[in-house]
């Protein structure tokens, strides 16, 4: 089974200003203090683990006004095709995170990306709600992202964007419910989707690794895949066994300080090497 063709280059942002300062998902509780030193150590461990697995990591300068900037997955959507680097910055649902949009847009513009914008009135929370699979994007909507934004993304990126309705506030982004492992396989948490979304994923993923509800709530789908290595915030035994049976190396990386804000390994990273229009993975199906 060929390994995933993207996921060897990431953008991360150190947790210098990270803290649970507001509550915008059911995991966040302002009275729960973040251990700053532990957070820093966990973040550095994650970066070291990714590098050890063969990934490169670029680091963005943190900004004191936006504590959640550490979750770079929500910065936007990257598409590098044919020598052109495209970035579509996120539009956040909650005002608490809206300040991140221009900071990341500026970073990507500085790094040679063409920055394309969504209409101002549409929310979409970037790679947190849009993961590459089946020669397109699988995009979550309802809780954080607006459905009409997926049509705009399809237009901007020139690829199909399949929308899946997220129904459980605890699994508020698609990247907590879905993790592409390679061309045929993905970790899937159906408890986060409505029945139409489940059918959409069933039709897209030939070999899904279905999560039980308790497994889904462990955030194990919020993992980072570097080639044949899966870096997981938690590894339920059944899932670890299955991944190893498929030939993956499983590394559990403690990011418990970030789980306090409802974020795991995937949330802390943004893949910079996604090519959505790679011809080899083209699949035919009606829009």
């Amino acid at each position: 089974m060929p390994a995933l063709e993207w996921g060897r280059s990431y953008l991360m942002c150190p947790p210098t200003h990270y803290g649970v300062l507001y509550e915008i998902n059911p995991w966040m509780h302002k009275e729960v203090a973040v251990d700053q030193d532990r957070a820093r150590t966990q973040w550095e461990d994650l970066m070291a683990t990714l590098c050890a697995a063969g990934a490169e990591v670029e680091v963005a300068e943190p900004d004191g006004s936006v504590p959640d900037m550490v979750f770079t997955a929500n910065a936007g959507i990257v598409n590098r095709h044919d020598g052109t680097s495209q970035f579509v910055p996120s539009h956040f649902r909650f005002p608490e995170r809206q300040g991140e949009t221009e900071i990341f847009a500026a970073w990507f513009a500085r790094h040679g990306f063409v920055v394309d914008r969504l209409p101002a009135d549409l929310a979409h929370e970037g790679a947190g709600d849009a993961l590459p699979f089946a020669a397109g994007l699988v995009s979550g909507y309802r809780l954080r992202s607006d459905l009409p934004a997926t049509a705009e993304l399809a237009r901007l990126m020139g690829v199909p964007v399949r929308a899946v309705e997220l129904v459980d506030p605890r699994l508020y982004h698609i990247d907590i419910t879905f993790c592409p492992l390679d061309d045929r396989r993905a970790i899937c948490a159906p408890m986060g989707w409505d029945r139409y979304g489940r059918r959409v994923v069933e039709s897209l993923v030939p070999e899904p690794l279905w999560l039980e509800d308790s497994e889904a709530l462990s955030f194990c789908a919020n993992s980072v895949v570097v080639g044949r290595t899966v870096v997981m915030p938690a590894t339920p035994p059944r899932i670890g066994r299955q991944l190893e049976a498929w030939g993956f190396d499983v590394v559990t990386c403690d990011v418990s300080e970030f789980l306090k804000a409802g974020g795991g390994c995937r949330c802390l990273t943004l893949a910079l090497d996604v090519d959505l229009r790679r011809p080899s993975s083209a699949r035919a199906s009606p829009a």
């Binding site: 909507y141 049509a151 399809a154 237009r155 690829v159 009606p286 829009a287």
Partner: protein, 410 residues
């Protein structure tokens, strides 16, 4: 009243099952839908687009459904109010005025769909009220010549919607009769069904309008109309100078245009009979005065006067006389007709082309219209001028009316 709203959704809505979900949600809400447009993306990368027309019980249910659908990217396409322009001169509509149909029509004013009070084709729409808090808004049709300076007239098509008339469920007699207007149809069945419609309309409190041409008298149908008026089956009569003249001529002199209505033969000096009749009515001052004086003792006009059935005689340039009751200003005549159609549920167009079309012009599409003529072109003409609701019965009007009056027990 059921409300209709059009929604649009765009994206990879087919393979994301978004369209399926939206249609399911509509049905689950007890509403109905019609896919107005589905534009499937040409390649896998192209987004698709669907326009869905939703029919739902009332505005409240529409609001609830719209909220649900919005989450899945479906938004109403017509959220804009109708554009209104203030007229600066009486009798002239603004450039680009919305030209009405005879269908039930609504205009969106201040975010609400307002039903037009008096649907009529080929008019403008005037918005009244709604200028201040709590000021009631209404929308009415206005024929061009009656628009006043300062009226707020709807321009363009935005924020205006019409409702197609509801088709009765199942096959009705007139549905299969309408496959084409033809003389080769069983008349007995048509008469019986028309009698039923008239009876139903009367039971529902609606009024019946008869529009008569002079051929009704020539073919011996006048006594049958008189019977129908006397028995309360006709509440309004529209005709011309000729019909009223020949009806009175038949009663007073026994001829119609000089031909004996009983013998069928021309009478001596008969060619001037109608002129002598008109002259005498003019001497009395009006048809009603001639009836009161005992000069007219029977016929359709007599029965109308006796029963208090309002009639309107519209004049034309070729009229003899005319009778004092004939309204020779045609614009005034049409306005007076407008004043008489309120509550009309069934219209019978009997052997007349011009008066049938004139009446068809002012009737809302909801009025069941039956056009009886020996010439099928009349029915076609009526439909071609926008009165699509007209059912045609091609037959001799005199015989037809006798059967109708018998069916109704007049």
């Amino acid at each position: 009243m059921a409300v209709v709203e059009t929604f649009q959704v765009e994206g990879h809505i087919v393979d994301s099952l978004i369209l399926a979900k939206i249609l399911d949600l509509i049905l689950e809400a007890g509403a109905d839908y019609r896919l107005v447009e589905v534009d499937i993306g040409r390649t896998v990368n192209d987004p698709s687009r669907a326009v869905v027309e939703i029919t739902v019980d009332d505005d409240a249910a529409l609001g609830r459904l719209a909220e649900q659908l919005q989450v899945h990217g479906a938004n109403p396409t017509a959220t804009e109010d109708a554009t209104v322009e203030v007229t600066d001169s009486a009798g002239v509509l603004p450039v680009g005025f919305y030209s009405t149909t005879n269908l039930a029509t609504e205009a969106r004013v201040g975010g609400h769909w307002i039903a037009v009070t008096n649907p009529e084709m080929d008019c403008g729409l005037v918005v009244d009220g709604g200028l201040g808090e709590g000021d009631v808004v209404s929308v009415r049709t206005v024929p061009m010549h009656r628009v006043l300076a300062g009226d707020r007239v709807v321009v363009g098509n935005r924020g205006v919607r019409v409702q197609a008339p509801e088709k009765p469920r199942g096959v009705s007699t007139f549905e299969f009769m309408d496959s084409e207007v033809s003389s080769e149809k069983p008349k007995g069945l048509a008469v019986r069904n028309l009698a039923n419609r008239v009876r139903e309309a009367r039971e529902a409190g609606a009024r019946v309008l008869a529009v008569c041409g002079p051929a009704v008298v020539h073919t011996g149908g006048a006594p049958e109309i008189a019977r129908l008026v006397r028995s309360g089956w006709v509440q309004v009569l529209f005709a011309g100078n000729g019909f009223a003249t020949h009806d009175i001529e038949a009663t007073v002199l026994g001829t119609s245009l000089g031909v004996s209505v009983t013998e069928g033969s021309p009478t001596e000096g008969g060619h001037s009979n109608h002129l002598r009749v008109i002259n005498e009515v003019r001497r009395h001052g009006s048809i009603a005065a001639a009836v009161d004086a005992g000069w007219i003792t029977g016929g359709v006009m007599y029965e109308c006067v006796r029963a208090g059935v309002p009639f309107l005689l519209g004049g034309s340039i070729r009229d003899d006389g005319p009778l004092p009751d004939t309204v020779t200003d045609v614009v005034d005549a049409a306005d007076r007709m407008r004043g008489l159609i309120d509550g009309v549920g069934v219209a019978l167009m009997l052997a007349t082309t011009l008066h049938a079309i004139a009446t068809g012009n002012i009737l809302p599409a909801g009025v069941e219209t039956f056009c009886v003529d020996i010439n099928q072109a009349v029915v076609t003409k009526l439909a071609d001028r926008g009165s699509h609701q007209a059912h045609g019965i091609v037959t001799d009007v005199g015989l037809f009316l006798r059967q109708l009056a018998d069916e109704l027990g007049a």
